[in-house]
C-alpha cells in the first residue's frame, strides 16, 4: 500500500469517523489485536490534539499520513498550523501510576502502552507524531 494522506477537521466530531476511515484501509491486513491497539492510539491521539492542543488557528486541519509495507504500519499525525509543540513522550503518565478511580489522565499513557513505537519531532517544516505498529505479533 502506498502512503495515503488524510485531512481531518479540528473538531471532536471528526475523530471517530477519521479513525474508522483509517482502519478501513487496514482490515484483514493486520492482526485484530494490532488493529485494536491502533484504534486506541488514534482515538486518544486525535482527541488529545483536538481537545488540548494549544493553537492560534483552531480552524487549521489535522493532516495524517498512513503508510504500510505489509509488515510495519506507520501513521503520522501532523500538528495543525499554529500549534504549540507537545511531545507526549514527555507528558504521559504511566498507566500504572494513574489512580484506577481517576476519571482522566490515561490517554497519553495508553498511546505509549499500545503503540510499538512513538516518535515526535520536525518533519518537512512541521511537527509530527509518528506511531508505529508491527502488523503481526
Amino acid at each position: 500500500m502506498s502512503a495515503l494522506t488524510f485531512h481531518m477537521q479540528n473538531q471532536l466530531e471528526a475523530v471517530d469517523p477519521m479513525v474508522l476511515a483509517l482502519k478501513s484501509h487496514l482490515q484483514d491486513k493486520v492482526a485484530d489485536e494490532v488493529l485494536m491497539r491502533f484504534d486506541i492510539c488514534m482515538s486518544e491521539a486525535l482527541a488529545n490534539l483536538v481537545l488540548h492542543a494549544k493553537t492560534e488557528q483552531k480552524d487549521a486541519p489535522i493532516d495524517l499520513m498512513l503508510d504500510f509495507d505489509g509488515e510495519l504500519l506507520i501513521v503520522d499525525v501532523f500538528d495543525p498550523d499554529g500549534t504549540a509543540a507537545f511531545d507526549i513522550r514527555k507528558q504521559a503518565r504511566a498507566l500504572s501510576d494513574v489512580d484506577v478511580m481517576a476519571e482522566s489522565g490515561r490517554g497519553l499513557g495508553l498511546i505509549l502502552e499500545c503503540a510499538d513505537g512513538v516518535e515526535y519531532g520536525p518533519v518537512q517544516n512541521r511537527r509530527c507524531l509518528s506511531l508505529k505498529f508491527q502488523a503481526r505479533n
Partner: protein, 114 residues
C-alpha cells in the same frame, strides 16, 4: 442516548446506545447515567453488548458513575467484547468493575447479592 430496562425492583440495565463510547459522547453518557442515580437507581448493570470500542474518556465516564454511586449501591458491566475487555485490562479496570458474560448473568449475580 442511553436505553434502560428494569429487571428486578432495584436493578436497572443500561445500554449506552452507541457503538463507540468515546470523547464525543462519554460526557453525555455519564450525565444521563448520573441522572438515573439521582432519580433513585442504585444497582446498575452497564451492558456493552453493542459497544465495539471505548476509549479513555469512556472509561473515565464509567469511573465517574461508579464514584457517584459510592456505597449506596453497585455497578457492574457485562457483554464486553474482546477489544473492550482488553481495554479494561490495559487500564487495570478489570480490578475495579465486576464483569459478566451477559445481562442475565449480571442480573442474577446482582440479585443474589442484594
Amino acid at each position: 442516548m442511553i436505553h434502560t430496562s428494569k429487571y428486578a425492583p432495584h436493578i436497572v440495565v443500561v445500554r449506552p446506545g452507541v457503538e463507540r463510547l468515546t470523547a464525543i459522547n462519554s460526557k453525555a453518557f455519564k450525565e444521563e447515567v448520573i441522572a438515573l442515580i439521582e432519580g433513585g437507581a442504585s444497582q446498575l448493570v452497564i451492558d456493552f453488548k453493542e459497544v465495539s470500542f471505548l476509549d479513555s474518556s469512556g472509561l473515565g465516564a464509567l469511573t465517574g458513575v461508579l464514584k457517584r454511586i459510592g456505597h449506596r449501591g453497585d455497578l457492574v458491566v457485562c457483554g464486553l467484547n474482546s477489544d473492550v475487555t482488553q481495554m479494561f485490562k490495559i487500564c487495570r479496570m478489570d480490578r475495579v468493575f465486576k464483569s459478566y458474560l451477559d445481562v442475565d448473568a449480571a442480573v442474577q449475580a446482582m440479585s443474589e447479592s442484594l
